[in-house]
Symmetry: C2
Subunit: 226 residues, 2 copies
Amino acid sequence: MKQENKRTSHQATPEVSPAVIKRLPRYFRYLRELIRNGKLRISSGELSKMMHVTASQIRQDLNCFGGFGQQGYGYNVNYLYAKICEILGVGEGYTAVVIGAGNLGRALVRSPMFEKRGVDILAMFDVDPLIIGQTVGDVKVHDMAELEKFCEHHRVDIAVLTLPKNRLHEVAERVNALGIPGIWNFTGGEPDIADSDIVIENVHIGDSLMTLCYELRSREYAAEEN
Amino acid sequence: MKQENKRTSHQATPEVSPAVIKRLPRYFRYLRELIRNGKLRISSGELSKMMHVTASQIRQDLNCFGGFGQQGYGYNVNYLYAKICEILGVGEGYTAVVIGAGNLGRALVRSPMFEKRGVDILAMFDVDPLIIGQTVGDVKVHDMAELEKFCEHHRVDIAVLTLPKNRLHEVAERVNALGIPGIWNFTGGEPDIADSDIVIENVHIGDSLMTLCYELRSREYAAEEN
DNA sequence: TAGATTGTTAATCGATTAACAATC
DNA sequence: TAGATTGTTAATCGATTAACAATC
């Protein structure tokens, strides 16, 4: 029973490896750039040079989702982009609310990131009376107390959490109770919501800074060895 | 010549695998929390439950850098934290400048992230005359034209790039020419600086959003199958 | 000493790369 | 047709897990 999952006809999600999934957004970005530059077709070899990965990996990755190329020709850039978008849910019309209207929340809302990926920010929420009622870009900041009411009238797919870590657990529970299926978590904490199949994506920007520091430090040592 | 790198006595950086390095900041975070909670000792088994990874992995990871534990006892939390900090360069006194004083740059400067990791933000730079001279937190915004002069008087380890993508290449070249050894790049582009061993860490927050969307979409499919 | 838990080796698993037949 | 490049299988490589002897 467990062994027969080799792509039966309508298994829509044939369990693609996490390593491949993590690379998809990068293909998305490079394909956008190719389109912007008016490029119509590309081979795995050419793309491999641009992206600094092997051509083999590109072909393997894409083939997890189907044969998007054509032998002897390569890949049609627009078609491939459309497929990647489809896989990543761009164009599904996902919606988001941002909970926490501090510096980070505001910076996110003002960035073109969501729009580029087809995610619509419906509203922001905060507890600070001085902030409630303000507008960030063209997004209104609501009273956090009205989150439940808001969700009665709007389908929300993603809750973006940019609030202080100490309120994370409480808010995550509320979000989960509302049936919002996804959390994009910037608080620095890592919520554990029992008995829920909510999707949580934790962002730890600081981890990236530390990786950089680690590398700096290694170089120092390497330099000392001479 | 290439094959003899199996930990000769003073090879200070014995080539730890990238997978391990990526996990170090997470240990850093959890250890801070343990300290905050007053925990003095922890076993790999206990930590494994907290972090949702195998105890085996924890022991393997830590042993890449030395035997930090004690048989029959576990790990001394404070000692382990000190070691991880040392490995990650916390306490090296690294310094940074933030180039681009827009929403993201300001949000970063105001966050406690740098301080927590022992990185000191010396200054911000921007090209907008309306912004130059302002203060963000306690960091002053300088004219971008004065970057070179500033670096004559200060040792800068990291350039945090939060400027528009179209200026990335130009600025990255300037940063490189100044001998700044590290770039923390938020522009969305991926700079290619030839003939340089500058360390570049690219941050693509949007990639994480897309991974979340991918997961949401998979769940939808899974739900449809019933 | 007995119990616990590390450090470390060996076994397994997964991901990447190489190679090439299929085919446009 | 000849040339190019994919799709896909097989080989390699690296990372994770399991197991257990060392030892506190």
